[in-house]
């Protein structure tokens, strides 16, 4: 028993408020990217999608790591809340990886001349998506809650370990993705104005992630409480 219904609902409501704030801020990011950030010389307007695509990609990777780490912690501490948090994060992670996987091809068509390329980072992020979906499908297919938590934690940890191997093997295969402009050993090669917009967009994505996860976690608590209630009923 990890929660009562009212506490779950209160947490869910707080999450919805944060998510709403995140959506308003996201509208602000669009204005900032369109009106107050210089247009890139070579790529023109197509480059604007960068401020949506890259933060979504960073967030997916971050969420993926969070799911892996909380799953490992769950196997160690066996606290149901960690399992619920990992599951909520994975659901939100799917949303961010879908944003990343749809905005990428939209940019790639005018710039690379093709929707899709089997490039190292593209393949890697596609696999993040597959692993998220596999994780959630497994959760949906295991009826017993204890087993569900342990099984999905195992899959999350294996997936976490798989990612470097996918990256390395596809990298050895061939790559054409733009090289990193921010997270690299030397200083960022992005103009300050663009870097600022990018980092603001990333911060907004994090607000959205926190909002969605909090809402989903609160609803998960409600579901837990409801299940416990049904079990405790004398006529059950």
């Amino acid at each position: 028993m990890i929660a009562n219904r009212d506490r779950g609902l209160a947490i869910a409501r707080r999450g919805q408020l944060i998510a709403a704030l995140g959506l308003v801020l996201l509208a602000g990011v669009y204005v900032l990217a369109q009106r107050f950030t210089p247009t890139e010389v070579n790529q023109g307007l197509a480059q604007k999608i960068f401020y949506l695509h890259v933060p979504a990609a960073w967030t997916s990777l971050l969420v993926f790591s969070i799911v892996g780490i909380t799953s490992a912690l769950y196997l160690w501490l066996r606290d149901e809340r960690l399992d619920l948090f990992a599951a909520s994060s994975a659901e939100v992670g799917v949303v961010f990886s879908i944003i990343m996987l749809t905005t990428g091809p939209l940019w790639a068509k005018p710039i690379w001349g093709t929707w899709w390329q089997w490039d190292a980072r593209l393949t890697l992020t596609l696999f993040l998506f597959f692993l998220f979906v596999g994780y959630l499908s497994l959760r949906a297919a295991v009826p017993d809650p204890g087993e569900r938590a342990r099984f999905s934690a195992v899959v999350a940890i294996l997936g976490f370990l798989l990612v470097p191997f996918v990256h390395l093997s596809v990298y050895l295969f061939r790559t054409i993705h733009p090289m990193p402009v921010v997270l690299k050993p030397s200083a960022p090669s992005l103009p300050d104005s663009m870097l600022r917009t990018l980092l603001i967009a990333f911060a907004v994505d994090l607000v959205l992630y926190i909002g969605f996860v909090t809402a989903r976690y609160g609803l998960g608590l409600v579901a837990h409480a409801r299940a416990a209630e049904l079990e405790a009923r004398p006529d059950a």
């Binding site: 596999g134 295991v142 342990r150 934690a153 191997f165 390395l168 295969f173």
Partner: protein, 226 residues
């Protein structure tokens, strides 16, 4: 407590004995592998793509799919007869259950590959005698990796709804690095490239095996717990 290594070997021997008596799973997997090779030969435009160009891909997809069909069986038979509960009661570490299944699965998959390889040579007209040692090496390295993960995943998949669908869904992403490595190495070996050119891939496959065998052994008790 029984010696874990002896328990592992005893469990693997028991699985192999049981399979040799019925031979149902192994026979179906062998026929399945042969069918994949045949379908592959026709799944191309013969005027534009020669069978030789497709050969390494055909070989590795056959290995991967052939392995997948044999993997579900290991834990499925334990579930059917409630034997997993009895195994859990036995005075031996949980890791031995995984070790036994891993060894038995490796034996089955190696048998499937040992039959698929000559069939491949026959159907695709690609002799492997002169490169047999490196081909066997890369096959062993790639197979150990995905069978290690597959054995662990199948222990979970058999206890879900839609077990037959769940294993491929979870396992295919883990087959990507071994299959890419296998195809790259065999393609270069067929092109008579020196072994030094593929040593990077062989090392990557070896690291994959070490990581996933170790992690699977360590994490298996979490799957088998009650």
């Amino acid at each position: 407590m029984v010696n874990p290594l002896r328990a592992t070997l005893a469990l693997a021997a028991r699985d192999i004995r049981a399979e040799l008596r019925s031979r149902t799973a192994l026979t179906s997997a062998l026929v399945f592998a042969a069918l994949v090779l045949v379908v592959f030969n026709f799944a191309r435009d013969p005027t534009r793509l020669g069978a030789a160009d497709l050969a390494p891909s055909a070989l590795w997809i056959t290995f991967a799919f052939g392995a997948m069909t044999t993997l579900n069986r290991g834990f499925a038979i334990e579930k059917e007869h409630g034997a997993l509960d009895l195994l859990r009661l036995a005075p031996m570490p949980r890791e031995a259950i995984y070790g036994g299944k891993l060894l038995a699965n490796l034996a089955f998959v190696f048998v499937v590959e040992a039959v698929a390889l000559p069939l491949f040579v026959l159907f695709f007209n690609r002799p492997v005698w002169h490169i047999l040692a490196p081909v066997l090496l890369v096959t062993a390295l790639a197979t150990i990796g995905f069978v290690a993960v597959g054995t662990l995943l199948s222990a979970m998949a058999v206890r879900t709804r839609f077990a037959e669908l769940m294993l491929p869904l979870l396992l295919l992403p883990f087959m990507l690095p071994p299959v890419i490595g296998g195809v790259q190495v065999t393609a270069r070996l067929f092109a008579d490239r020196p072994l030094s050119e593929v040593s990077g891939w062989l090392r990557l496959l070896a690291v994959y095996d070490v990581v996933f065998v170790t992690v699977s052994v360590l994490i298996f008790p979490a799957v088998a717990d009650e």
